[in-house]
Amino acid sequence: MNYRLDNRVALENDAPRVDIVEKVKGTAKFTTDYYLPNMMWAAFIRSDYGNAKVMSSNLAAAKAVKGVLEVVLDKIAGRYQGDRIGYICADSRQAMEQGLRALDLKFQARYPRARLEEERTPMADMKPADDEARAQQALDQSDVVVEAEFQTQVQTHCCLEPHGCLVDYRGDSALAYGSTQSNQGSRQDLARDLGLRPDQVDFRCEYVGGGFGSKFGAGNEGRLAAQLSKKFKRPCRVILTRKEEHLDTGNRPGSIQYMKIGLSHDGEIRGGRVTTWGSVGPTGGGQDTAGGGGGGGVRNPSRYDFGTIAKGHEDVCLNGGYPGPMRAPGHPQAMFAVELMIDHLAETIGMDPFEFRLRNETSDVRREMLKVGAELIGWKLNRKKAGEWPGTIKRGFGIGAGDWANRGSDATIQVNVYRNGLLEVVSGAQDMGQGYRTMIGDVVRTRLGLPRELLVVKVGRASYPPAPASGGSITSRSTAPKALVAAEMARDGLRKLVAAEWKLEDIDGVKLENGVFTADGGRSMEWAKACRLMSGDRFTCTNSQNGDFFKPSMQTHSEAVQFADVSVDTETGIVRVNKIVALQNVGLPVNRNTIENQMTGGVIQALSFCLFENRILNLMNGAMVNPNMDMYKIAGSMDVPEIVPIIWREDRNTAVNSLGEPPIVPTLGAIGTAVANAIGAQVRSTPIMPDKVLAALSEKGGVA
């Protein structure tokens, strides 16, 4: 494992995350944990079916429930299950729930648009893509032409902390808590809804129970809580139920991906046609689902050099909840199809899929990762030709590639050094579990050579210095360079005080190492003592500049390659993942714990999407069959394989790259191609459930 040892974290740091003690004690306060005095409970009234009209309701009975303050039905039809058609507000949770039951809504459900494969425009009727003629030429000039169609399902975010917001409007100010990936965006939303200036709204999200792309802005929950709090002059709480989470907080859209690709006998891909369809809500993509909308786009083709491609895409409207951004939107589903297609192409011309990838890889970094990963998984040693593993339980090996183009954003970091030596780092970004608190604190602390005991990190309030919304893997990327500069500003401020104390002309002669200031002549001063030289209670540095720690955007990609080792039981069709080797470029690594944790977590979440998760709509009425956590299967402890996370060679010029999306991109392709290698037939549809494995085997003519 010399790759690990060679690439130890640049800021040599294995400390536990800074907020974990509060989390294991249960004292970390999430939005859902606030129950304010005199608080009202409110909830949306929702359509029960995908395409339904309200036939009757008992508004009077709902209003008559003791404690119910307001019931409003403002729509008479729902276009998807969970569509908001009104709301209820009550003194207590019990009254709110009783009121909803008393409302006794009856719907007439009509046939919904529920299946992507039925509602899409057929291939033949699709509008020709711009490059159609050139793509056709590439196909004509190819030695071999291969076509295939792939399908992926809808995945819901299912954040464990539900979407929600608490607003306490107090006339000329407001206090609000929200579960969000964008606390400053949320404050803007609420200020607008409450008719206040942003500075009058104290918005907090110090702990957020997962977002995965679904929690931008204050959302519909925030809007409702603000409206009711303002009206009744009382705090109002709107927290979704688990069922609502599945129905109306966005999802990863389903896809169908058709590919017709031509190549030469010696393995050069010439080009062809890629047509994709993505499922969106009843009126299209980008609608106002709680947490922001998204389209049904599929990032196919990508990563490999596919030559001249004519790409067509259609967003297909279904009577289901609107999609939203979800960890690397459009990418994991694309790479499932792309990797299987790459395998298919290689097999067609009789080339080893590994060699075929090396040949058509577009990134030098990934090409090297491929070689290292192959060694770690034992590609040459263990892998047999497709379907040739003996016995009924067959093992297979597969490859997945991915990356994420890094972008940065404006941000400001504040560093306060207190007279007692305390180091405080303040940022308005939010930590949804990615370890932002830890990363930003460790960047400053290690730059100054100070121990964790002196560190306090404050994030997650809108009043803190500006920071981007945490989406698209930009939080660390945008903030870390500014924090490094701020740390140096703080260091230089103290060097100045020390230089003056030592009667030195300038600060150049004063060094800070491991928390001790030194100068020629054997002079030295401890950090704590130097801090006491301050005249005020603290020393504040605020920085918005990147300094030397940032390459301009788009010059770096967080490349990723993963290898999967799976076992498939050819009698039951059950797939088990034995091992995943995950190689990941992170730029400048900061905290090994949080990096490896986010990498392995991304792999498991992608494994879960690949094998289990599925939003199933009732084809008769559009209602989701499994809007819960017992029937909506999410990978659990028994499904976790051995995962080997490899932090790729550090790149000090790149600064710190975020890890929200990149580790989740390659996994589906790796598992999908490993399953194909095991059974000798491709399962071209996720989730790879046992019935699909058995069907693929039977189509192939049984087990070899």
């Binding site: 536990p16 974990i20 003690v21 509060e22 989390k23 294991v24 004690k25 249960g26 970390a28 999430f30 859902t32 944990d33 129950y35 029960d48 079916y49 036939m55 019990q94 039951r101 006794d104 809504l105 009856k106 719907f107 007439q108 459900a109 009509r110 046939y111 299912c158 954040c159 464990l160 902390e161 539900p162 702990y207 129970g209 997962g210 139920t241 688990r242 949804m432 579990g433 990615q434 714990n593 949080t594 944790n597 392995t600 977590g601 991304g602 792999v603 498991i604 979440q605 879960s608 008769m620 009425n621 819960n628 956590m629 017992d630 999410i634 990978a635 659990g636 402890s637 028994m638 976790v640």
Partner: protein, 213 residues
């Protein structure tokens, strides 16, 4: 097939059934104890079995033993233990996530055994020893499981972690030296959406090596 269909009025969810059944069970057990003959005009308030308290539908107080302390908790008969502890008693470590026993985020110890507190009625917890994640800290010292979670970074967003910590404590009480497979099986009722499982397994292994609490 008739394309148009109407929703069934008064469809009963599992949740409502549980809540309803709890109230009914409490009521019927109360009734069952009544000496029928004593039901006269002057028996408007029925006598009840000693230890069993009548809670009206609009709510009342019960005493729960939470983290070693008796606590007066205001509940309605249909309140789950989770809602009573979070919303009435103010201890919010245990989380409401699936609200039907499928994710383990609400796990508490009841008489030393781990239960999904969203699936237990508060009135059924009367007289039992309840330990929440907050109660694992004693004299300011973290439980060895909590310490191991900290040292192994066994967490991401942290919303599921109180449940994992309490379930891991129970697992180690049941099986003090579990192997990796026993840990996986022992935690299979808990879901971590961020999927910090690798670190959670390592933490439980470390806690097991560190010995019993």
């Amino acid at each position: 097939m008739q394309p148009d269909q109407e929703s069934k009025p008064g469809g009963v969810s599992r949740r409502q059934f549980l809540q309803g059944a709890g109230g009914a069970a409490a009521a019927s057990s109360m009734l069952a104890t009544l000496p029928q003959l004593a039901l006269g005009k002057d028996a408007a308030e029925p006598a009840v079995r000693p230890g069993l308290k009548r809670i009206s539908a609009t709510g009342g107080n019960i005493t729960l033993q939470i983290n070693g302390q008796p606590a007066q908790v205001a509940i309605t008969p249909d309140a789950t233990l989770l809602r009573a502890v979070r919303e009435s008693h103010g201890l919010t470590g245990a989380k409401e996530v699936c609200d039907r026993g499928a994710c383990g985020a609400c796990t508490m110890l009841v008489d030393g055994r781990s239960v999904n507190s969203c699936m237990m009625l508060a009135i059924d917890a009367v007289g039992k020893k309840i330990t929440t994640v907050e109660g694992l800290v004693s004299d300011g010292q973290l439980d060895p499981v909590q310490r191991a979670f900290v040292q192994n970074d066994a967490c991401q967003c942290g919303y599921c972690i109180p449940g994992f910590v309490v379930r891991s404590r129970a697992l180690l009480n049941e099986t003090p030296k579990p192997d990796r497979d026993q840990i996986k099986a022992g935690l299979c009722g808990n879901i971590c959406r961020c999927a910090a499982y690798v670190r959670i397994f390592a933490a439980v292994e470390a806690a097991a090596k560190g010995g019993q609490a």
